[in-house]
Symmetry: C2
Subunit: 226 residues, 2 copies
Amino acid sequence: MKIPVVQRILSANDQIAAENRARFDAAGVFVLNVMASPGAGKTSLILATVPRLLPEVQVGVIEGDVASTIDADRIAAAGIPVVQINTGGSCHLDAPMVRSALEQLPLAGLNLLFVENVGNLICPAEFRLGAHLAVVLSSVPEGHDKPYKYPGIFTGADVVLLNKVDLLPHFDFDVEYFRRGLEALHSDIPFFLISCRTGEGMQKWVQWLLQRRGKNSEPQRKTQNA
Amino acid sequence: MKIPVVQRILSANDQIAAENRARFDAAGVFVLNVMASPGAGKTSLILATVPRLLPEVQVGVIEGDVASTIDADRIAAAGIPVVQINTGGSCHLDAPMVRSALEQLPLAGLNLLFVENVGNLICPAEFRLGAHLAVVLSSVPEGHDKPYKYPGIFTGADVVLLNKVDLLPHFDFDVEYFRRGLEALHSDIPFFLISCRTGEGMQKWVQWLLQRRGKNSEPQRKTQNA
């Protein structure tokens, strides 16, 4: 007797994430899900990346926060189209929240969309949004042990950025220890050292991002982590 | 007709938190639930506080992490009794986890217990452990907007510490803006500026902690947030 095997059924969130992805692809918009601890520099990453993409790449932003419009105000002040999601206490963005935000952020005219997740190094990893790229941002003041202590979010990352490297002289931070922790989770993870404040390393990151965006138009390279 | 009103029924977690609290009180152990973002310096706070309490106050530690024993190893290396809880992915400690840890950390002989929660500025606020004091630790590199963006955890705090103040010259951090955000949530919150690295501010914090511990033996001052 053959036992019937039911294929993995998409959760409600994953179902809506797939619908989001289809909308992004139809509109030709490449989408990044940016995840990090509170204060790692997610908004600063967006503000430092966008001017290096303009004018060829038109960028929009969805800001996720438990409360306040502080981050969205910073993005708007830079003249970038932005929608703020307040989760009202929830510790992560989910696919329905992103779908709602899209009602107020027309994809037409955009080529790239940053979704800044809630500051949290654990929960956001478990909720796909429909993005093409899972970006995990760590920062020097947080310490070099983060990949060892929070393996889930680093395992799901498509790229890892280490921010605030201009502060390395002021911290006992061993970059190789951090890198080894990362590579123990997956050996070929793209990893960039950056400083959003000084601009160090930004050119390499932006160059990689543009290449990765180009490759995404080849269907077989699409990722499913974000 | 009088409508019957059912008193708030304790959740399973709150029920076990109350049992934990009863055990702590019976043993005469004052318990701190230390909550913060990843890398804010929770372990460093414990390591900087304990030597200032010894030998009058005997201290134990429960370390909560998603994975690894990195923090517990640091505590053990300092000769402090410690138990590591690995949550296996969960984003916060809960009361049953603390109860389990107590099986391996005899309360007899201890006067004070630090419970270091998982690095997360959102979820731990929602799970009482049975502690007497909810300690929220923020740090200068995270930025001065944290009370505005993560109001839940700051609202539930009994005391807030701002760590890494030795780095203030390297950051655009407005202490008064941070303080105003905090006081908007509750006006009389005890607030200390500290540096676990240089020792700045530690004496005031420890003095306050010892006073607060003394007051807790007066039953009417017991708090319920932690």
